[in-house]
């Protein structure tokens, strides 16, 4: 089933075009990797799908479950089930993770009534699976987190909010191998119940743990080549220059 | 929209037995007559923190010697005969309107000019021989011009009162150094006003070893979009010297940038008041303004006041300030002494460190001035 369909998408920041005609279809359950050099616009693509007001879509279409989402605000897209993980998540002083997540969960799943205790139990379980200290839930959102903690906190939010598609931005960068395994497991677990994943990454490393069905090479604002996992391997051997043609 | 009024203390003043009058004007000119009656209608400002409550009328004489060392400028009395005339008599608030008007009327020195290219200006005022120096100066920087001005006031005198104003047209750049080394001078007053058009850029560096009572005011109006102003002041007060140093930034234009940095040191019963005012008007969308001050107090009896203010009418801004007042950093002192320096040398080194960044900025062909600043630090510690 078609979850998200991007058709000839163009987007600009200010006067500058940064997304230059992207076509991409992601079905339920599928894992897609988007690979490309720094500054190619991978993160921008995620922001545009999510509806970051810094970027302006100039032409093209994004359909989610068959309907255009271009006129929806970021929170409306989130409530449809689109999740963006951030490379550098914001620090928000004075707001505990627990309160924040409970609120977000209620917004995403208004029909599921959970008591504070039940929700707390669920969070503790997720935190355990990510080998995170429970105290983390009492801490302020991302405040003073280490690089690894930030990545885990993003995956914890992913697991808790249970979206239909996850747009993951460089989730592997800066993680040691143990942390990488834990985070990958988190992603894999979340995708078991049908969640699709778009994984933006610079390196192949994480693809040893999260297996994509498709690999897209993204250069200068567009997808230049699509293939299977073998494309990532080719990339590792030859670099982006070779793939360009 | 409901507009609120901020209530502020009124100006306090005192009267003197003897004030300057028509006979004290060095360059008598009919246009000064109205200004004089305005001047006489004002009493002197009463300054609590400076303990300024009495003004001694020292005789004003013709300036002896030559203060203009370098630069294509007119002496103020000559400029008054040109199209610059209205500019020479233009009033502003400065330290206090009374003192600004005094300078405009009774000046015995000063220069005016319109600059349309790159210019280097050197002004050296001698307080030792002249005792009373009253300066009225002003510059108009035409579009895209660039000026470096080095101005010094040196020696033991009685009174220094300077008023100067600067119009920075679009894209012009002004870099100005003011060095005041005027020990035992009764009263040292300096007022400067800067009006900046779009993309104009201003850097002001003040080195102040003041008189017995010193009051300095620099006010920049960032009128044009993208205009920038930086004030950097370093000072030292010793004995019973009191100084009141004020830097003000008024942001009117969009994306204007301002910095105020005031660092100094105190010994004996020295007393410094460091004021920094940042006003960001509702039109100044995207303004970025910050103020810092740091005072190292070397003596138990020294006193340091810090009065920073932020007035913000617009939420699309960055506005910050920070201040610290304390003794010399014990760890730094220990470190230097562990390398063999005696305590006095170590302190001198640390205090020199406050001045160093500004001395470094002074163009290299002013080695005398640099040396004099270094000496001034040495004799004070």
């Amino acid at each position: 089933m078609e979850l998200i369909k991007i058709i000839d998408l163009h987007a600009s920041i200010g006067e500058k075009e940064v997304i230059k005609g992207v076509n991409l279809t992601v079905n339920r359950n599928e894992i897609h990797a988007i690979m490309g050099p720094n500054g190619a616009g991978k993160t921008t693509l995620i922001n545009v799908i999510m509806g970051n007001p810094k970027y302006r879509v100039t032409s093209g279409e994004i359909l989610f479950e068959g309907k255009s989402i271009l006129n929806l605000s970021v929170d409306e897209r989130a409530r449809l089930g689109i999740f963006q993980s951030f490379q550098y998540p914001e620090e928000i002083s004075g707001v505990t993770f627990m309160n924040f997540l409970r609120l977000a969960y209620e917004k995403m799943h208004p029909d599921q009534k959970m008591s504070v205790l039940e929700f707390g139990d669920m969070m503790v379980k997720i935190a355990d699976s990510l080998k995170m200290d429970h105290n983390f839930l009492k801490r302020y959102v991302n405040l003073g987190f280490s690089g690894g903690e930030r990545k885990k906190s993003e995956i914890l939010q992913l697991s808790a909010l249970n979206p239909k598609i996850a747009l993951l931005d460089e989730t592997d960068s800066g993680l040691d191998i143990d942390a990488l395994k834990i985070v990958s497991e988190g992603i894999n677990n979340a995708s078991k119940n049908g969640m699709a994943v778009v994984l933006v990454t610079h390196y192949k490393r994480i693809l040893d743990y999260v297996k994509p069905k498709f690999v897209h090479i993204f250069i200068d604002g567009r997808i230049v080549k699509t293939g299977g996992i073998e494309l990532a391997e080719e990339l590792e051997r030859n670099g982006y220059e070779e793939v360009r043609i | 929209m409901d507009m609120f009024t901020r209530v502020e203390p009124k100006r306090q003043s005192f009267t003197v037995k003897e004030d300057y009058g028509w006979e004290d004007i060095q360059n008598k000119d009919g246009s000064l007559y109205d200004l004089l009656s305005d001047y006489l209608s004002y009493d002197f400002p009463l300054w609590k923190r400076l303990e300024f409550s009495d003004f001694k009328k020292y005789p004003i004489k013709k300036y002896s010697g030559n203060f203009l060392r370098n630069g294509n400028l007119l002496l103020t009395q000559d400029a008054m005969k040109t199209e610059l005339r209205d500019f020479t008599t233009g009033k502003f608030a400065g330290v206090d309107p009374k003192f600004v008007m005094m300078a405009l009327i009774f000046f015995n020195s000063g220069v005016f000019g319109k600059i349309d290219k790159n210019e280097r200006i050197n002004l050296d005022y001698d307080l030792k021989d002249n005792k009373v120096v009253i300066e009225n100066s002003g510059l108009i920087l035409e579009e895209d011009s660039s000026v470096i001005m080095i101005r010094s006031y040196r020696g033991e005198g009685k009174l220094l009162n300077s008023a100067s104003k600067y119009l920075l047209r679009a894209g012009s750049k002004l870099k100005i150094f003011n060095v005041i080394i005027s020990p035992k001078t009764d009263l040292v007053i300096s007022s400067s006003l800067y009006n900046l058009e779009e993309n104009a850029s201003l850097e002001v560096y003040d080195v102040i070893f003041g008189g017995e009572k010193t009051a300095i005011d620099h006010t920049a109006n960032l009128n044009g979009d993208f205009s920038r102003a930086t004030f950097k002041t370093v000072y030292f007060a010793r004995g019973k010297e009191r100084m009141d140093l004020r830097n003000s930034l008024n942001h009117f234009g969009r994306s204007t940038y301002g910095r105020i940095e005031t660092n100094g040191s105190l010994s004996d019963e020295g007393y410094s008041v460091v004021r920094g005012n940042i006003e960001i008007k509702s039109t100044a969308v995207g303004a970025d303004s910050e103020e810092r001050s740091n005072t190292i107090s070397l003596s138990k009896k020294a006193r340091a006041d810090s009065i920073p203010s932020l007035y913000v009418d617009n939420n699309d801004v960055i506005a910050k300030h920070g201040a610290s007042i304390g003794n010399i950093d014990e760890d730094k002192l220990y470190y230097l002494m562990s390398r063999g320096l005696d305590e006095r040398s170590a302190i001198r080194l640390i205090v020199s460190g406050i001045f160093e960044p500004i001395i470094n900025e002074i163009p290299p062909d002013n080695s005398n001035l640099k040396e004099e600043i270094e000496n001034a630090i040495s004799v004070r510690i």
Binding site: R79, S93, G94 | S306, V312, N314, N315, A319, S324, I325
Partner: protein
């Protein structure tokens, strides 16, 4: 006192009105003298030369004394229903049962309820309506009353001295730890009146007290005036935590004075929230007079449409090894105007003192105003004094981040504002914190709950 019953004074102020108030309270002569002297100061003093514009406040039309239709009772059942209802709505009787050691409740110019747990009485704690304390403990009261805030301090301290009525007196004897907070609540129910309650707290050596003060009122089209006075004496080694929520109605001029003197090794903790009133001038002051005395502040000012709130903190370091720490925050929105005015003065003798002041101001929109003026005066070189301030808007990236998790923009803003105010909110008693969050939600059209 029934034979001298006074229900309400005529508007304005003169000697006869003061005499009436004093006589109706059966006061000793010395208190009447204070009132008379205060009246003189008041008539001779100009308005403050800083702060908010009060030129529109007509002091001659303010009714300075309004007696509620009730006596000072020790049981809520005896408080008339219409007045009791107001306090029920605020959750005061319930909070008293659950978490408070004592409660006072003032309506207009007099206390209508005052009660304390028996166990505290046995420890020698005195908790009385201020007027009653004047009659029952004249020597103790006389020793402290308006010594920290002398009537000639400023115009509204003088007004307070002349017409004060109601308020709370607390004395905690040495080495008593009052286990639960004591709370007084002040309600203004009549239009065009002035409320002038006096709070006098003396906490003796080594003792501990937490006091909570709540203030609110009904909104009228005419101006109301609040000019209370709080005097706190923290003796050697004692600790006092004084929490306030001032949520006066939007027609109120709140010109209030609060001061604490702190002796050797004592601590004063101010938790202060100013959110109501049309105009406020309030600067809780700490006079650190004993070696090692400490002051801590967590304050917020919350200025919305039609509000000009000029608030701040003042700390006087008069002894060695004293320390102060200020965390002051403000929010301005909808055209509101928040002004922080601070003073830290470190005297020559206050060597080895420390002070840090942090001010931050969040401006929610482009029509509001936020000003900061923190003055530091340091008269010795063996102290460490620092100050930081920041003014800015809500970070757009934070809003985006929260919205990407499904929160609406309004909810995201409300959550960020709550987070910004968290250091204050988490210090509040539960019912106040809930109320506070509710107010933030309301202002930001949020339904976070």
């Amino acid at each position: 006192m029934t034979n001298n019953a006074l229900s309400k004074t005529e508007p304005g102020l003169n000697r006869r009105i003061i005499e009436e108030i004093s006589e109706s309270k059966n006061e000793p002569l010395w208190m009447k003298d204070i009132r008379m002297k205060s009246l003189e100061y008041f008539l001779n003093r100009p308005n403050p030369n800083f702060g908010v514009d009060i030129s529109a406040l007509d002091l001659n039309s303010i009714v300075n004394y309004v007696k509620p239709g009730a006596q000072n009772e020790r049981s809520w059942e005896d408080v008339p229903e219409d007045i009791r209802e107001n306090f029920e709505k605020l959750g005061i009787p319930q909070a008293e049962r659950e978490a408070l050691a004592g409660v006072g409740a003032q309506y207009d110019s007099e206390m209508v309820y005052h009660n304390m747990k028996e166990s505290l009485k046995k420890l020698g704690v005195i908790f009385l309506e201020m007027g009653t304390a004047v009659r029952e403990y004249p020597d103790l009261v006389k020793k402290y009353f308006m010594h920290l805030i002398p009537p000639n301090d400023h115009k509204f301290a003088a007004l307070h001295g002349a017409v004060w009525s109601g308020g709370t007196f607390i004395y905690v004897p040495p080495n008593v730890n009052v286990p639960m907070p004591i709370q007084s609540y002040y309600l203004m129910g009549s239009p065009g009146m002035g409320q002038f309650e006096h709070t006098l707290i003396v906490v003796d050596k080594g003792s501990k007290l937490e006091f909570i003060e709540g203030c609110s009122g009904q909104n009228y089209s005419v101006s109301n005036l609040h000019a209370g006075a709080v005097e706190i004496y923290v003796e050697e080694g004692a600790t006092v935590k004084f929490s306030t929520i001032e949520n006066w109605a939007k027609n109120t001029y709140n010109l209030n004075t609060k001061r604490a003197s702190v002796d050797k090794d004592g601590t004063i903790i101010w938790i202060s929230g100013t959110m109501g009133s049309a105009k406020t001038m309030l600067y809780p002051s700490s006079i650190l007079k004993g070696k090692g005395a400490r002051a801590e502040y967590t304050t917020i000012t919350y200025a919305g449409p039609g509000q000009h709130l000029d608030t701040g903190t003042k700390v006087f370091h008069f002894a060695p090894y004293t320390s102060s720490k200020v965390d002051s925050r403000s929010i301005s929105f909808g055209g509101g105007y928040a002004f922080y005015r601070g003073l830290v003065r470190v005297s020559e003798s206050a060597i080895h003192s420390k002070s840090s002041v942090d001010c931050s101001a969040l401006m929610v929109d482009n029509v509001s105003k936020s000003d900061t003026l923190p003055i530091i005066e340091v008269m010795n070189n063996q102290s460490e004094i620092g100050h930081e301030a920041y003014v800015g808007k809500i970070n757009e990236d934070q809003i985006y981040y929260l919205m990407s998790r499904g929160l609406t923009e309004d909810d995201a803003k409300a959550l960020i504002v709550r987070g910004f105010l968290d250091p204050f909110i988490k210090q509040l008693p539960f019912e106040y914190a809930v109320e506070f969050n509710r107010i933030i939600d309301m202002h930001f059209n949020s339904k976070i709950g």
